[in-house]
Amino acid sequence: MSRPAEHDGTPALALAGGPAAHPPGGAIRRIAILGNPNAGKSTLFNALTGLRQKVGNYPGVTVEKKTGTCELPSGARVEVLDLPGSYSLQPVSPDEMIVRDVLLGLQRDTPPPDLIVFVVDATHLERHLYLALQVIELGRPFVLALNMIDAARAGGIRIDERALERRLGVPVVAISATRGEGIGRLRRIMERDVEPSTVHFRRWPPHLERVIARLEARLPRHALVPERARHDLALALLLDDGEDDALARHASPEVLDDARILSRGLDRRTPGWRSDDVEGRYETIGTLLHSAVETPSEHRDRVSERIDRVLTHRIWGPVLFVLLMGAVFQSVFAWAQPAMDLIDAGVGRVGNGLEALLPAGALRSLLVDGVIAGVGTTLTFVPQIAILFFFLSVLEDSGYMARAAFIMDRLMGRVGLSGRAFIPLLSSFACAIPGIMATRTIDSRRDRLTTIMVAPFMSCSARLPVYALLIGAFIPNRWVGFVTLPGIVLFSMYGVGLLAAIVVAWVLKRSVLKGGKPLYVMELPPYRMPSWRSVLITVRERCLLFVGKAGTVILAISVVLWFLASYPRGGAEVHALETRAAAERVAGHPALARDLDRQVAGAALEHSFAGQVGRVLEPAIAPLGFDWRIGIGLVTSFAAREVMVSTMATVFNLGNGDTDVLPLRQHLRDALDPRTGRHAYNALTGISLMVFFVLACQCMSTVAVVRRETDSWRWPLFMLVMMNAIAWLASFAVFQGGRLMGYGP
């Protein structure tokens, strides 16, 4: 009825948090660390908080929220928030939008900090001060940390800290986060009540200033937004072209309309106004540096330039890149194996121990085959994750990752991905779990999601046992030229996955994940020695996150799978077999009894929900050449692809403890189709099944990790449906095509 007027107290901007801008006495102070990417923010965060860190997500977005606690010299504790690295308060990525929203008080779950510790790279002050000025202009308590001061001194850069303090109106501390230098002084400042800067260094053209002031006057006053920040809110509203959801959510339609009209007016009268403030700020920085910093006339990072002459060389660059990637891939693939075997053996021992302790029954079965198996699955991924993230953080922190992306960008760009997608996809050949976790280094959300969606097409090591079984059973070991037929088939399976990934990435980037203005600008930071402490903290954090967040989903699914494979129990046939086995054991025929035990297991599985699902699935998978026995395997292998092998062993009444797959191969070859009396499977079935395994999303751990990384069920479910549809169609084409050519079983 009545239009909300601005003077009646209805806020035109809904803002987060309570009424008080500062916590009442005694409450924990919140400190945010902020800065450009490569400023050494995370190293400082680690130096301040050590292992007292927590990682979560900002609600509804894939941006990670890192907080920790830090003890100050007085013994007081403060909460430290590590904000994502940003270049500007005018966001172009979800990360930067979070930073802007937190600082302007628009982020619901994260009230604005009581103090901002702004980290700049002292050797690149000119560029890093740009965001610093923007943030100082917001009028919040602010400390400038001149990081990498040791490198600046070594390069002959002399910074007059006192002059900077006077000119900026904020405390300035020189630190070296890697060496721990100056951290004590920073802690002492963090304890003080820092007054916001009162210096005004905006030098914008008057026409822009007038328009901003007009819009600013229409914004309501709010306790969480300092008077000076209202100016930035007004500018953000003017610059927004309707894509900024956070602003649109928070501002009233009237204010948004005003902003649109005003910015259209500016477009007409003064084209170029959208970057006027940028030029103004760089002018300010120029005068500031002139009076406070002495830089050698020709300051260049000679060491980095010399390294780059080799590492990004036209020929040596790609060669060294391939060698380095080969080493990383090899270590994830092979070095993790001993640790994984150890974990497997340990989990097996725990299972056996429990089996000995507990009476046979549902509880024991649940614990051993459901819970412990699930925990074991989760833990076996940890060595791969640890090794990959060790290399990733060393490559990232040393500065090489940006060069790798520089070298690969053109190639990956052909399918619409960024150069940074290469390493996650390569790691996915060992295992998609660490590969998907490694996509965090991709800045663009759409590129990152595309990479996540195609990573599981890379043939991971869990598919190898399945390929080995099927190739061994159905592909004759013949030489074709200088390679063997099994070799060709195995190689083709890797090729099929790669091809699927390229096609799907191409399609996704032109459909679901289309849009956004692609801007691939990336900094090539100077080479630096990584901080080993930071590297180890990252490795630990990634492992804990996987076990904690993805592990719970894996555990839940493995209990469900256990239930499907174990219930309903019995049936007359199973009971009769059990009785016979017991009788034979009493009669002193252990070999016969063991044989009957295997038949019990086979019959029980056939009888279970999993067996029933296999039969229900049969009409759907028959066109692919699969019968209900393979159907059971497709259900149980959702726990992990290699489970297919042990399930087939159980179905064919071979104890699944047998490591020897030779009898299983024979059974697969001999298996009969009860309706036709002919062989149920042949080479065509084997290839069709392998193609299905290449393309189908049959891995609960992948689903769990995609759920964790995208913070939603939408993308893992999309992946599940998309991959399985592609797998079905491809296997259908292979099997029916082969049959038409007369290769059917």
């Binding site: 970057s275 030029e279 691939y520």
Partner: protein, 84 residues
């Protein structure tokens, strides 16, 4: 822009030879992308050097305000430089 009235011929940044320097004259193209490039220091009047091209010819590496940036040629072609 700063060089607008001198009439100095300018050319797209991606056409520079490796090692060649120039001064940014103007930026055109999408306003949002232009703004971000300027925020990264590519403001008219700033000296810039094309350091090298990637092994496959794209992207290119720039040095501006002491910082090395990698840009795809399609984006760099919107930045015009005059002889420095």
């Amino acid at each position: 822009m700063t060089d607008g009235d001198t009439g100095a011929p300018d050319r797209p940044l991606d056409r520079l030879d490796p090692g060649e320097r120039g001064v940014i004259a103007r930026l055109n193209g999408d306003p949002q992308i232009t703004r971000r490039l300027m925020e990264l220091g590519l403001v008219p009047g700033t000296p810039v050097e094309l350091v090298r091209r990637a092994p496959l010819g794209d992207p290119i590496e720039l040095a501006v305000r002491g910082v090395h940036l990698s840009l795809r040629r399609s984006e760099a072609s919107h930045i015009h430089v005059a002889a420095g």
